[in-house]
């Protein structure tokens, strides 16, 4: 079974530029998550999708971050414009959550973003 795919693996941009990350979850997984992990900290949930609907985006900085999962499969996360404090690893995860309880999350390798 193929795992969660993410691209790019690394990205370096200057502040105020835009950047986009792509995630393809495990086939059949209805739930997709985007996390931000700053060095030395635990992953922080940015947005959670159930199929193509948003379940939770309470911690997404909506003035600069946006995410979509149009066909309920792959997803993109965009930052526009980037700030220095956005430097982090952006992790995508998916799970086969089918009811009200949480299932195991499978994480992708992440995209390491450096904002200069």
């Amino acid at each position: 079974e193929a795992g969660v795919a993410q691209s790019p693996r690394y990205k370096i941009i200057e502040k105020r530029q835009s950047v986009a990350f792509w995630c393809n979850p495990i086939s059949g997984h209805a739930t997709l998550y985007w996390y931000q992990q700053i060095l030395g900290q635990g992953p922080k949930l940015l947005i959670q999708f159930q199929n193509n609907g948003v379940v939770d985006d309470s911690q997404l900085p909506k003035d600069r971050f946006s995410a979509e999962r149009l066909k309920g499969v792959d997803s993109t996360l965009k930052i526009q414009p980037a700030k220095l404090e956005d430097s982090a690893v952006y992790l995508c995860a998916s799970s086969s959550r089918g009811d009200s309880s949480y299932n195991e999350q499978f994480f992708g390798p992440g995209t390491r973003l450096t904002v200069l």
Binding site: G42, V55, Y102
Partner: protein
Amino acid sequence: GQQVMQIPQYQHVQEGEDFTTYCNSSTTLSNIQWYKQRPGGHPVFLIQLVKSGEVKKQKRLTFQFGEAKKNSSLHITATQTTDVGTYFCAGIYGNKLVFGAGTILRVKS
């Protein structure tokens, strides 16, 4: 908002010694999950605890969920160099999942 506190932040042990990390929440959790992240890697699911007072074992790893469902622990018996990494708990509050800051484990051979 909901927060899970993890202690210690960092532990350096001699190979063969035991290791324990603790996770605490000020409010009752629905479930709790544990993940391991190797240096440079991504989090990998270890286990989920659901019931009050639950204890689960995976070889040398023992996971416990408190009676009040506000705390949890992960204990590793006789650490090996392959155990190095950061161990995260992730507390589930209804439909929200919140990660702790993690405990970094280093094992000296």
